[in-house]
Symmetry: C2
Subunit: 412 residues, 2 copies
């Protein structure tokens, strides 16, 4: 087994090769990788079965389901690779060009980041998705998945590398850290000069560990305490449908709503309707005192407004105004996605102007914050920070830029 | 004296106000700040004289010169503010817009970063420049200058705030940390949720401290170990002029060259000419063994190829090929600016493709890496990292973006 340092050195050495691949070469590799995944289905499923055997009783059933692969899921991974092949290539795009009075021609050109390290948790399909997005954006990936998926991830990367080898491309374009200890994660976080971008994908604990310990450039992803504010001027039926959808269509994802703020002037009419609607879906309501005076539910503790439940739980609070709602959001949001439901254009405009989150919605569900829904194609995650990429991270968000300046002997 | 935490809270509270300022309002403020600087020249020069008195004997003469202000320098600072007023406003620019098949209208809009903290060293003009760039880009600045300039910086910020007050704008749009201890720098580096972007401007020690300790998003700036590679196919006269200019026109700045790499096939002819030319400018050459076999000079220690001299010193090495030169650059560069001098288009193309620095030059001096020279206007510094801004940081490089999504009740 290679050490993490050896893997990082391999990745660094592969950077120029990855950056120089033409669009056609990258697409050929992605299609070959897709074919290799399908061809190796049996080996991948056997490895996955071993992972599942080892994990049973160790992790929650919902996590077991995320870990589990079958023939259809492997085929879906392969289709994901083919979809990335069909996307445009961001590398080499000229973002700006100017000829200066002294004759210097300055081009601003999109370039790969270099080595992108991804630390993620149990879902093995992330392995194929991340490898594909990195390859298409000219990056070399260093994948460090979770302990419970290590056999599956090893088999998937072996298949992807089969695809690379079939096209005579170096295997080190795609790298897996087989050591799943905390130490290997720390090594990636501190590999100055070797890791150009670190993307942690996972829960609050992982993100916090990266923020606390990372000495390499890092993009925080995926923690979403998303708010829906139901304004005094909301269409009540629309508000009900949006809150219901944002909470219950897929509670385990980061763009699901965790908090509903309701304007006091409509709380008396809206909250009973909301309680009825969400009771049908078995959603537990955690209520601030003013909401609790109107509908039954669990009294909210203060931590309930700072928790990403990822479950059938919704915190509910009555607010005095759109400003009051925005103050609450500023204090409690993770900067992912927030929505206002209103027919009042002034309230909508204030909300869009002052809410400082990656995605701000007027009259739509927060569940749309997603690379595919935004038309960016497959994504690496949702950035909740403002430096570098923000919101859904597609191919362009995995790149940097560089100035290329051509002269004829100019000096200053 | 306010604590750093109190200042950060003030800054955070001022964010919505800064972000909502119109272009016209910002320009009015900048012009009022410029006038206030000029009006307060006497107070600023008195404070500066006190700084100089305290610093004499404590810091090197070159640093004293950087610290010193006079009437002309204050007027130049005011002109700098007026120049920023004349630049375009990046905030609100629509970077992309799409209407999805489901009718959602998604706009990608440029927004301020929020609170930008800048840690810098002795030059007091940075105080006015940084305040102006942050204000124009809709950000609230928290300025933390060096100990030896504290009286000057305090007087400058008092003048800038006079300008704000004259227009009834809150003083907390511009904030100065008066505590110049290491503790205040550490507080800025770790102020999660309060500082949206940290920009260290200064020497290697400061940058390293930020990289090691920062838990807020940070852009490294200004460390430049810049290389000039003189190719086999170089025009020797052009190469001499470029190396001379890049080394000696202003050795103390980050875009000055520190290393010259020379192709072995022309080293015998080129190096004696280079030695003669630079001897006239009193440049000390630090030579690798192959260069030392051709011209006289100091034998280079290995650290000489990893040192930002910022002085009349040039490290010189003979290389075998453009690939050899690029390997050396990949191993030793800080990612700032590198140049190739060549008439060979293939060598130039390889250099542009494979050198991973913010600015890559063909047949021009590295000294052009500068916001003004690139046509970006005044700049906050030169980023040497790939996440977020890269190269010269003008107004646009102090912004982020946000997705604004408008619907009519869409759910997923």
């Amino acid at each position: 087994m290679k050490t993490t340092q050896e893997i990082l050195q391999d990745a660094r050495a592969a950077k120029p090769r990855a950056a120089a691949l033409s669009t056609k070469e990258k697409n050929t590799l992605l299609l070959a990788m897709a074919d290799a995944l399908v061809k190796n289905t049996e080996a991948i499923l056997a490895a996955n079965a071993a992972d599942l055997d080892a994990a049973r009783g160790e992790i929650a059933p919902v996590m077991l389901d995320r870990l589990a692969l079958n023939e259809a899921r492997v085929a879906a991974m392969a289709d994901g690779l083919r979809a990335v092949a069909a996307l445009g290539d961001p590398v080499g795009e000229v973002l700006g060009e100017t000829v200066r009075p002294n004759g210097l021609r300055i081009q601003k050109v999109r370039v790969p980041m270099g080595v992108v390290a991804i630390i993620y948790e149990s879902r093995p399909n992330v392995t194929a998705d991340a490898a594909a997005l990195c390859l298409k954006s000219g990056n070399v990936c260093v994948l460090r998945g979770g302990r419970e998926a290590i056999r599956s991830n090893t088999a998937i990367v072996a298949a992807l590398r089969d695809g690379l080898s079939a096209c005579d491309a170096p295997e080190t374009l795609i790298n897996l850290v087989e050591d799943t200890s905390r130490a290997s994660a720390s090594e990636l976080m501190t590999a100055r000069g070797l890791v150009d971008l670190l993307i942690p994908r996972g829960g609050k604990g992982l993100i916090r560990a990266c923020v606390e310990n990372a000495k390499v450039p890092c993009i925080e992803t995926g923690t979403g305490i998303c708010h829906i504010y139901v304004d005094a001027a909301a269409d009540p039926a629309m508000a009900l449908a949006i809150v219901d959808n944002a909470k219950t269509s897929r509670p385990s994802v980061c763009n699901a709503a965790e908090v509903c703020l309701v304007h006091q002037s409509i709380a008396g009419a809206f909250l009973p309707a909301l309680a009825r609607r969400l009771d049908e879906k078995h959603v537990e309501l955690r209520l601030d005192p003013r909401a609790a005076a109107i509908i039954p539910g669990t009294p909210a503790g203060p931590e309930d407004f700072d928790t990403e439940f990822l479950d059938y739980i919704l915190a509910v609070k009555v607010v005095d105004s759109v400003e009051d709602a925005m103050r609450h959001i500023a204090a409690h949001s993770t900067g992912h996605s927030e929505a206002i439901v209103t027919e009042d254009e002034a309230a909508a405009a204030a909300f869009c102007r002052d809410v400082d989150s990656a995605a701000v919605y007027v009259n739509a569900s927060t569940r749309f914050t997603d690379g595919g829904e935004f038309g960016l194609g497959c994504e690496m995650g949702i950035s909740t920070q403002k430096l570098g990429a923000r919101g859904p991270m597609g191919l362009a968000e995995l790149t940097s830029y560089q100035y290329i300046i051509r002269g004829s002997g100019q000096v200053r």
